[in-house]
Symmetry: C2
């Protein structure tokens, strides 16, 4: 009855399914029952589907135990690594016709039963890591679970899954952690200059070390493969920066090729060409990589953004949104930005591109200040 | 008349200052004038303060030119590196009593005059990189500029500034870029699993390569110093992951020390102890590092969060905020989260901790669904 187990239970309860809860912590089971996630086990329970939502290092053990305890049940799990779990279940000689591993790509920073949310999986990818031994009944039961919870079913082999999450989840965790670690011994004045970029890069560095030691340990080889690629690129960047540092400092007395223009002056020599070209290619590669990430609703190119200044007084944002509604414009996404200490917030509003011009004019006429 | 120049001009115009605009692009000057940022130059203009807002590689050149063109003016700049610029201005034999470099820690993803915002600097740190040769008049003029624009003045030497921004801005840019680069050749199915963590880590990888080649080139040595520390840590993580990969896979048939509990079972041997301890220490170091970053307004521990489900229909969010106002609760921060394809959005609302319980009860009574 952690985040994922409770969320699955709440989603199934909302569809009227009889959900039996189990956890190594009786306190957490009680909390989850009070929360409406299901009931405690009674003698003679015969679950049709067992969903194992435990830490990665005990997932295979619990799957094997449940396959044995309930010989007619389909068993699945939601651990964030799939190949080591499948290998261990097979190695234990368990009945794998009734087991298939899955992984919902959904989460929040919080854990525990009270963090559970019936809608946690809505529209999120949920990987089914199939294997040749699986029965039709097993596949159907697990597919139904995923679709009933509103997730998008993605089929992959266990190996494909593990190398995919190494790339999009486990390596980014390490990268974020390593960047954050560099701040430990920094002067207070330096961290005081932190802006949104550093905050974003290091946000997931706040994740639970206990859980991540297990995840990284269980998916060590695929994660190391991604990080070795990154380390090689980093070595090239370091070599380029060392060449740059060895170059002459910024010129002030000479005349640059195009003074005060926004294009770079012609580089002075071949070393300069080499490090500039290397850094430019790396940075452009970053642009290309980030462009491959599917857009979040509202940051989508389908929407246009409008920034409206909103006084930091009660009711002002509500008034803005009410007036947008009166203009017949639907809000696709909204983010409120506050500078520390400022008396004004900036409401970043995403709307359909064809509505922007009309809305800008209408809000201006109503006295709103449009910031961009 | 890029982002910073136009924003400074707009802020000064709002205080009635006569602002003269200059740019290598006459088109951009016209746009900025239409935007209300100031006027074009006329014969006999005698500016008291010249603010140089040009790319880093031509900053020193323009400073020296302006010091010479206006022998009574104080000259400052806003480039994101300070020591190479100061060295070049000194080396050119310019009158440094009238020059002091600064750097406002403010920005947006967009550039150009139309991205300018009079409130861009509100509450943001703005570094003044003083030097021994500076006159009282110079220091006072630049301090006034910063305070008039609502920023927080931070005094540092040029060296302190450059190593600080290497840590909180330039190294994170490289890290984000390198992570994003690993996505270039990934299968579509893998990037399809991307979640908020990867998006956050790689957001600034979308930055302009041309500008960043200049910034990294100008601050190469301090940035390389941070990245070498990170590379050494990465090598340790890689060694730990390689030990982990060499270890036995997850056990399923044996009995873990504490089956199905949320704590890790006792490690099997000394290698396992070593890699687990190493990863745990690194991850905990990341926790400690990220905790040093000063909180953003609203993500602050001063506020408590409430998540309310809001139907994706016009007016619903406005109704929620109106009803919060009726309950007398002030909104400290708000973020709307939309799952792709979902008909429900999640409004993450930050309020004062003492208001949470009352607000939860009141909103529930009014029929709102509270998700967490």
């Amino acid at each position: 009855v952690g985040l994922l187990g409770t969320s699955i239970a709440l989603g199934l309860r909302a569809r009227g399914v009889d959900v039996i809860l189990s956890d190594s912590s009786p306190t957490n089971v009680s909390i989850a029952i009070d929360y409406g996630a299901g009931r405690s086990a009674t003698d003679g329970d015969e679950p049709q589907l067992v969903v194992v939502c435990v830490p990665p290092d005990v997932t295979a053990f619990v799957i094997v135990r449940e396959l044995s305890a309930y010989p007619r049940a389909v068993v699945t799990d939601v651990a964030s690594v799939k190949k080591p779990v499948l290998d261990a279940v097979v190695a234990a000689g368990a009945d794998v016709t009734r087991y298939v591993g899955t992984h919902p790509l959904a989460g929040r920073e919080k854990g525990g039963p009270m963090s559970g949310r019936a809608d946690l999986f809505l529209g999120r990818p949920w990987v089914v890591a199939g294997h040749p031994g699986i029965s039709y009944q097993t596949a159907a039961a697990v597919d139904d679970l995923i679709l009933d919870l509103g997730a998008t079913l993605v089929e992959m082999t266990a190996d494909e899954h593990d190398s995919s999450v190494a790339l999009v989840s486990h390596a980014p965790q390490v990268v974020s952690t390593l960047m954050a670690r560099q701040l430990i011994s920094a002067p207070e004045s330096a961290v005081g200059l932190a802006g949104g970029g550093l905050r974003d890069v290091t946000r997931i560095a706040a994740s639970d070390p206990g859980l991540w030691v297990q995840i990284l340990g269980a998916n060590a080889a695929p994660t190391a493969a991604v990080l070795r690629g990154l380390r090689d690129d980093l070595d090239e960047v370091l070599a380029a920066l060392e060449s740059a540092a060895a170059d002459a400092p910024v010129e002030a007395s000479g005349t640059p090729a195009t003074p005060a223009s926004s294009t770079s002056p012609a580089p002075a020599g071949s070393t300069a060409v080499a490090w500039r070209r290397m850094l430019a290619q790396t940075l452009a590669g970053g642009n290309a990589g980030v462009a491959r990430i599917p857009g979040k609703h509202g940051q989508d190119k389908r929407y246009a953004q409008l920034v409206v200044m909103v006084d930091d007084t009660p009711g002002e944002l509500a008034r803005l949104l009410t007036e947008m509604g009166e203009e017949g414009v639907n809000l696709e996404d909204l983010r409120l930005e506050h500078s520390p200490g400022a008396q004004i917030g900036l409401a970043e509003i995403a709307v359909l591109p064809e509505a922007v011009q009309k809305l800008t004019a209408a809000l201006s006429a109503r006295g709103w200040r449009i910031a961009g």
